[in-house]
């Protein structure tokens, strides 16, 4: 078992854990955590396949993952913002006795 194969299997397993968490877990912040975990697993898969080449690592995939990390935090921030707003809306409608 080489290093790439080990990290490939790890990334698929992490993706599976994240997907299971996304479906099963109730709390919305944990769902956001699960989505992030799925994103991290995809990055790990990309980098594991980038290190396959003997010698230098594949820089195109590294650049893609770097872009992905930055876009993932932007998406996480926006989703947390929306969750916070939904929470406050739920506060308001809860008091109306829905």
């Amino acid at each position: 078992m080489t290093q790439d194969l080990l990290y490939t299997i790890a990334s698929i397993a992490l993706f599976g854990i994240g997907l299971f968490g996304l479906i099963v877990v109730r709390h919305i912040i944990r769902k956001i955590l699960a989505i992030n975990m799925m994103g991290v697993s995809v990055f790990m898969l990309l980098v594991a396949s980038a290190s396959n080449v003997d010698g230098a690592a594949d820089p195109v995939l590294h650049a893609m993952v770097l872009t992905g990390i930055v876009v993932a935090i932007a998406g996480t921030a926006l989703s947390l913002f929306l969750a916070s707003k939904i929470h406050s809306l739920g506060q308001a409608s809860d008091s109306d006795g829905r």
Binding site: I29, R30, M37, V47, A57, V65, A77
Partner: protein, 100 residues
């Protein structure tokens, strides 16, 4: 080759264990802290996979800033529900860290 594989499998087992624990724990604060630790383990994984640029970016952005954002949201979510407990009459406080 043997020690490298052992080190990589330790990191992988750590990542998967942290992922399971993060989603299974009852306390949301614990889940967030475990997620930050997962980000740091992934940083080590990037180093092992010969991606130092990614390791720096993941440590700063993935583990650091995402953790800060999550904790700020956690704090937002904790403040409001305490208002509705008219019977307990407790202020939100927000100083006690544990949710127990």
């Amino acid at each position: 080759m043997g020690f490298d594989l052992f080190l990589d499998s330790c990191i992988v087992i750590g990542i998967l264990t942290l992922a399971c624990l993060c989603l299974a724990t009852k306390n949301l604060f614990t889940a967030i802290i475990l997620f930050i630790s997962l980000g740091l383990f992934v940083t080590i994984a990037w180093v092992r996979l010969d991606a130092p640029d990614l390791a720096i970016a993941e440590a700063a952005i993935g583990a650091g800033l995402t953790g800060a954002l999550l904790l700020a949201t956690w704090r937002q979510l904790r403040i409001e529900p305490a208002d509705r407990d008219a019977d307990t009459g407790s202020k939100s406080g927000g100083h006690n860290v544990s949710n127990r």
